[in-house]
Symmetry: C2
Subunit: 225 residues, 2 copies
Amino acid sequence: MTQYYREHSKVWVSVDCIVFGFENNHLKLLIGRRQMDPGRGEWSLYGGFVRDDESLDDAAYRVLRDLTGLKKTYMKQVGAFGAIDRDPGERVISVAYCALINVADYDDKLRQQYGVEWVDLDKLPKLYSDHNQMVSKAISLLRRRIKTEPLSFNLLPDLFTLTQLQHVYEAILGDGIDKRNFRKRIKQIDFIEKTELIDKKTSKRGAALYRFNKKLYADDPTFKL
Amino acid sequence: MTQYYREHSKVWVSVDCIVFGFENNHLKLLIGRRQMDPGRGEWSLYGGFVRDDESLDDAAYRVLRDLTGLKKTYMKQVGAFGAIDRDPGERVISVAYCALINVADYDDKLRQQYGVEWVDLDKLPKLYSDHNQMVSKAISLLRRRIKTEPLSFNLLPDLFTLTQLQHVYEAILGDGIDKRNFRKRIKQIDFIEKTELIDKKTSKRGAALYRFNKKLYADDPTFKL
DNA sequence: CCAAAAGTGTTCCGTCTACACCCATGG
DNA sequence: CCATGGGTGTAGACGGAACACTTTTGG
């Protein structure tokens, strides 16, 4: 039976994590300098090889957890990248995953330890291999999904102001949104709850803090911005 | 340098083709009985292993061409499937691809020779391994994309009637569309050209035949049904 | 002459968009 | 007291959905 498999050759399979964050009203990407050959010193996504005892998804979660210490992150497969010479060393097929994390949850000591940086998405340098393509695909997926799935909350703290939320949408969609229209729409969404708490950090008057109610969303998972 | 790779293990990678067709106003899927172990005799998508000298996309095109003889088909990656035990024999990661073909272009002798059949999508049996999941994902991708990309033409002959076109949309989206609203929208789309030809096969009165003008679409690739 | 599919417009309603001013507060 | 960001409503435009009858012709 294994004869059937043996006729064919195996390849290395890796996962690469496209980690988005949100800071100073800008989308950021977590990238670092490659510390191994081939491509040593080039900017690169953070990745790792898939092991025998883990699924692709598990591999992606492991790689992200290794890097950030974060466990329950939003993660979605972007796609498999398999050009013959995409890796300059050997034939490696890579499966890209897109993660959305709250920058504040990421211990900055750990970040420095791994030598990765938050880079502004619109100042993204040339990356190793086909990583720029992966990022492009991730962004276009993100832009499409943000309209029908409550993704933005993954980029924010548990409590956030409506202005922050609006800035996330603007950063992802790439242009401005009318404040009144935005807030009108948000008000109609049950699972975005206003709390009694006030955030005084960003303004003198203070802004109401909101919260994403996961349970309410699970009850009625319809979303349309 | 290769030391770096050697620390990790390789896996088999295959591609599986989800081939959609359209016949008798229904979406059909091309599936066959597996002729090898493991899973001999089970219904299955048609697939093959990725070779050293071809990219993932090339592998998918090769597998589809082997099966159907068709070269310039619409094809899109659906995603990578990598559960540890998804293949009952060995660890195999599979990348699923979705193809849309015109049933009439597929030589029926060839089809029989390969022992594959067109099966109504809503009568789809239990398939081998995780192939049902692949199909589900392909359909949901298709439903989303059909609204913003001119995909339906791939399932039809070069010349088609508006009624046929409408049936394709109904089959994919899964419910009825108002004829007048549909035709109103189609009329606004420049790259769907009315020809002087009349199709008399489906009605006594005859229906105008239309054509998808690829060049016009390439000039202005905006589409919204 | 009739069955069967092709073809054709209008009205209504809900949704999206544009738009400008007052409020509260810390410094 | 003023600079700064927070918060609010309305009117007009637009697009999508509902809806029924006439035309053509092969048998």
